[in-house]
Subunit: 385 residues, 2 copies
Amino acid sequence: MTIQAFPKNDLHKIETGTLDVPPRLLLGPGPSNAHPRVLQAIGMRQLSHLDPAFIKIMNETQELLRYTWQTDNELTLAISGTGSAAMETAVANVVTPGDVVLVGVMGYFGERLVEMASRHGADVRIIEKEWGDVFEPGEIYAAVEENQPAVVMLVHAETSTGALQPLEDIGDICREFDCLLLVDCVTSLGAAPLYMDNWKIDIAYSCSQKGLSCPPGASPLTVGSRALEQISKRYVKTDTWYLDLNLLKSYWLGDTRAYHHTMSSNMTYALREGLRLVAEEGVENRWARHREMAELFWAGLADIGLSCHVANPELRIPSLTTVRVPEGVDAKAVAGRLLNEYNIEIAGGFSKLSGQVWRVGLMGYNSRPENIMLLLAAFKEILGR
Amino acid sequence: MTIQAFPKNDLHKIETGTLDVPPRLLLGPGPSNAHPRVLQAIGMRQLSHLDPAFIKIMNETQELLRYTWQTDNELTLAISGTGSAAMETAVANVVTPGDVVLVGVMGYFGERLVEMASRHGADVRIIEKEWGDVFEPGEIYAAVEENQPAVVMLVHAETSTGALQPLEDIGDICREFDCLLLVDCVTSLGAAPLYMDNWKIDIAYSCSQKGLSCPPGASPLTVGSRALEQISKRYVKTDTWYLDLNLLKSYWLGDTRAYHHTMSSNMTYALREGLRLVAEEGVENRWARHREMAELFWAGLADIGLSCHVANPELRIPSLTTVRVPEGVDAKAVAGRLLNEYNIEIAGGFSKLSGQVWRVGLMGYNSRPENIMLLLAAFKEILGR
């Protein structure tokens, strides 16, 4: 058989060089640099998504995820996509069209929860805070009492503002009013204290490229029994097939793993290795290290006359600091110089905080004294302090 | 500050060993083994999703994707998920609730198109074929004329049956009736002749782990101008935020790349390397190699008295052969022995072809004579032929 002769198109057959990239130190809001063991694991030869040898690796990954989340939730898995995919999985599965959903908005990721919940048919009610502030339990209580939502959605670590929402008391409020508690842990998992079960969180999601220091692409999600029960008895299927937890459950749990999609062995190798590093360190020690490094960084900022956007240190995310841009300084130009002259990536603020803050991540493997020392030295040089 | 003292949960802090996996030869319906250069690229140090150095890599990847698809489509990108995510992206973006959609079902992946289109609100009309058969242009013409759909959805290479749907004449039919043509190319891209532009396909998607021999997780999608226009002027947003092409477009195209999600540099490195290998070989040469290897395999099957499920060789997928299981042979036991004794993965049939066929993939890097020789020798030994 000859290949059918159509006019071939070589316009886009470009010449490219061997892959090479600058050696960036990733101190923005994520990704963080992966631990070298993670980058070694990701290149291991492949297994298929249904190979018994791979199922064993999935099972180990699930156990280590449970440990990292501090949960016994059976349905603890990794979504084949980035943290935004895990976010949409959580939202799309707990929302049925017409449900009242209460979203706490204190930054961009709360706004995104509003957007996603709306797309999946929720009747969204919003409570808002200034960007950098957090909610008091009493405020949430009052809003839940008033709106009687089916789901309360909160962001634990608001990456756009640097504020860490205390969660200890919210689970009890949601139980009292018989609604689910969904929490965005994209920036907190593996970096800030997080007790899924003790805090009575019903469904939570995260990503792989921040506190866990893996490449993005396999994103942790955990579902408690109250949420799972609601998901199992939905009267309509969720609109997304790829992110349907009733289908994913049959692939991730039980003895017969039902084919759903082609889970990436390589991404799973990477996540497993990142989680092994969490277990080796001990998750509480990891939280403590992030906090200790954050305090070191905050002290160093003060030394060069820079301040944090979130005034109260108890409400700052230990892995992501929003630094106030001094009067008259071009935030973008400074970030550009850090990248181009020092190979250090930090991010600017955006939306309501555009031009007002830099966002500095000290996440996972990158949360180390030498990185803090280098960044402070570079800041000092660029800002002339 | 001390970390709050909650009772810690070490139940799931399991002991795990250093990553090690059996050296499988992946001759199932995907994943195929990645080329060693791809596995080397995927472990390269990371870049963030907005780093100018990464944008350059994205741009190169897009160009090489255009070449591989044989298209000039500007909106040619990789979805951050597996082929199923790219499939849902295509479906969710071209369907608006209430649209009549005509799906050609000749196997499992056609059924999945029906399921996805239904979830996204389509009024789905179905034409069906036996599993292993394909549609004649006249049959599609009649169904389009009768149903007047907004979108026609077809599967190019039906992985569940081994049949390759000829597409040359379908684009003209869809233009005549002013509807879009969506094509599933998950198993054909990089393996079977495919002319996106010449065949007037409006939107098509694929995966990275078959013909392109990369790990799964960055899945090719290309959108022509007719589809893009429809997507741009939707009267309701698509229900999925993560897979919304109007948002993804702003991240993948233009001078200011708007943050959407955290695209994985490592997955992109891998895809770029896989596509460089396509360009080095020449896409037509790659198609010809797949066809040549398939013919070698089919001849070898005949030599040991095995036959193909798709009778007409012109209608067989060059990268995925369905082999009839001889009377009295336990298909699952044979596949199990291949895996456990020879480290060779092939797959069984499922649903309507359960127990009746084996599915053998000779995809991308794996489409080589020595793999065929080994598999045939193992078949011969196990079947005693």
